[in-house]
């Protein structure tokens, strides 16, 4: 394999994994934009999505399509239940309380998954075949195309949802100004519930589509959450376009770093980027200018 082929190969891998990070970041952004909460349990939704899918399709042996939608439904319900149980009862909580609660929920989900499925790593068959497609000397797994395609579909659906449905518009109104939104008759508390459900659902999708490539175990969530947050901050918190772009950037950096520098330090790359962004430009790449981007989404 020539250097160019190798580079292309790393690029493909980076884009695939970056898509997942981007989706985790989208989940962060949706909740952050309408509630100001950084939901540290976001990575656990990804883990739960993957694990539920494995359980439904390989252990209960449901068909893939049924398993796919049922897993999303289950994790969405878990996200909603989490909001009702832990966020809803709080009266004017401080940032510190919210952080601790989402961290606590995150390790609770992790512990629950360990309790239910044990510590082993699970795999999932790819959606369609394992035969790699070769492109310009490098290869792409068919699953990578699924990942990109499903990410595209999710983004398109989100644009339609936030742009053209009454509920979507109401959620945007809450993001813009909660008091004003409640004054025009929007039930803000219900919208908060919906944002958690929606974020959980998106996380679950990310988990389901990545498992055939990256495998899944109970302990994946926190690292995914931190990396997803790095992506969200690099893209600018609240900027959805930023999340997608920054996802690709960090995914590619990580894959290049693992290939050319050291695979042992691979996981540190996103985190170093996070620290650097916080130090140099906390508003992120697209943050300050396009803070209102969410409203268009």
């Amino acid at each position: 394999m020539s250097f160019g082929d190798q580079l292309l190969q790393y690029l493909f891998t980076g884009i695939t994994i970056g898509t997942i990070y981007g989706m985790v970041a989208l989940g962060f952004n949706i909740i952050y934009a309408s509630t100001g909460i950084i939901n540290l349990a976001q990575g656990e939704f990804v883990m739960l999505g993957g694990m539920t899918m494995v359980y439904l399709t390989t252990i209960i042996k449901l068909p893939m399509v049924v398993g796919f939608f049922l897993s999303i439904l289950i994790v969405t319900a878990i996200g909603a239940a989490f909001e009702r149980a832990a966020i809803h009862p709080l009266k004017s909580p401080s940032v510190i309380t919210l952080i601790i609660i989402t961290v606590a929920a995150s390790i609770l989900f992790k512990g629950g998954a360990m309790f239910a499925w044990g510590k082993q790593t699970f795999s999932l068959p790819p959606f369609s075949g394992e035969k790699p497609i070769s492109v310009l000397g490098a290869t792409i797994l068919p699953q990578a195309l699924w990942i990109l395609g499903i990410m595209g579909a999710v983004v398109a659906l989100l644009i339609l949802f936030f742009g053209f449905t009454l509920t979507g518009k109401a959620m945007r109104a809450c993001a813009a100004n909660r008091t004003a939104a409640s004054l025009v008759g929007i039930n803000v508390k219900t919208m908060v519930l919906l944002t958690f459900a929606l974020s959980a659902g998106i996380g679950a999708i990310a988990g389901i589509i990545i498992t055939p490539i990256a495998l899944m175990d109970y302990d994946r969530g926190t690292m995914l959450a931190v990396k997803g947050f790095s992506v969200a901050v690099l893209g600018g918190l609240g900027s959805s376009v930023g999340a997608v772009v920054a996802g690709f950037i960090i995914g590619i950096m990580e894959s290049l770093g693992a290939g050319f520098i050291s695979s042992g330090y691979k996981d540190a790359i996103a985190l170093v980027v996070l620290l650097l962004v916080l130090f140099i430009k906390p508003s992120g790449l697209l943050g300050s200018r396009e803070r209102g981007e969410f409203k268009k989404f």
Binding site: I38, L40, A86, P89, L90, S94, V95, I96, T97, I99, I100, I101, V103, A104, A105, S106, I107, L108, K110, G111, G112, M114, F115, T222, M223, V226, F229, S230, V233, S262, G264, Y265, D267, A268, L271, V272, L274, L275, L278, F279, P282
Partner: protein, 311 residues
Amino acid sequence: MRKNNLLSLLILAGVILVLPLGLGNSYYLSVLVFVGIYSLITIGLSLLMGYAGQISLGQAAFFGLGAYTSGVLSAKFGISPWLALLAAIFVTGGIAFLIGAPALKLKGHYLAMATLAFGYIVFIVFNQASSYTGGPSGFGQIPRFRLGNFLFRTDVHYYYLVWTLVIVVLLVSLNVIHSRVGRALRSIHEGELAANIMGVNTARYKIQIFVLSAVYASMAGSLYAHFITFLNPTPFGFHFSIVLLTMVAVGGMASVWGAIIGAALLTILPEYLRAFHDYDILIYGSTLLVIMIFLPQGLFAGIFSLVKKER
């Protein structure tokens, strides 16, 4: 310092002094040594959380930096443990300043995420820099503390050493709380904007407390390294940062006494709950969640005020 604090401190010192006489068993003493070591960290964390209103999700990393700096310097470079402890304080404090200064100028969750990311980076370095740290399997032969010809060899020696340091740290912390810095921190808690307008440099005080909490954790790390005489990365991961957080939340965030009680409870209880060892994250998770939702002032203050409300 207030009178009742001084009284509590004297009572604590008395209890510490006589406790080993009642406990012949060295196993219990070693548990109490760990309670002391963890108390050092939780006292700092409670200053940070309860007084400065900030949160660190990477306190275990500062603990680890203290332990590894101390361990590597003394075991591999032959530097005396006391000097190694001092060097570790400067290294850890310096790094905490570099992380905290930019993050603390931003909103609350940025420090949380910066410390979380930092914690993971440190953990990865401990695992990867194997020529110094021995990688995942760790390294040993870390020398113990000595004073002249006196070697801190037994658990009793170490018990008194650790708890003396806890008392010193408590004294310093109580003074900080009741000093200008403490008043400024409380004003941040009440309303940062108002404090700023009154001329309180809130960012500077927050950084000072953050660095102080890291220094406490570093000292705890050094004590740990020279007590266990062996280091591997496992005790310094994200999981332990959460355990520390739970200790502080159980004890009540805005109380350095609560921090010690929390550390004691969550160090001693698990010793009796060995059977649940694998599922301890379930216990920590639900404890944290329940306390934050229902008793945000901590277990004791929370129950106390609930009882008072009932009457």
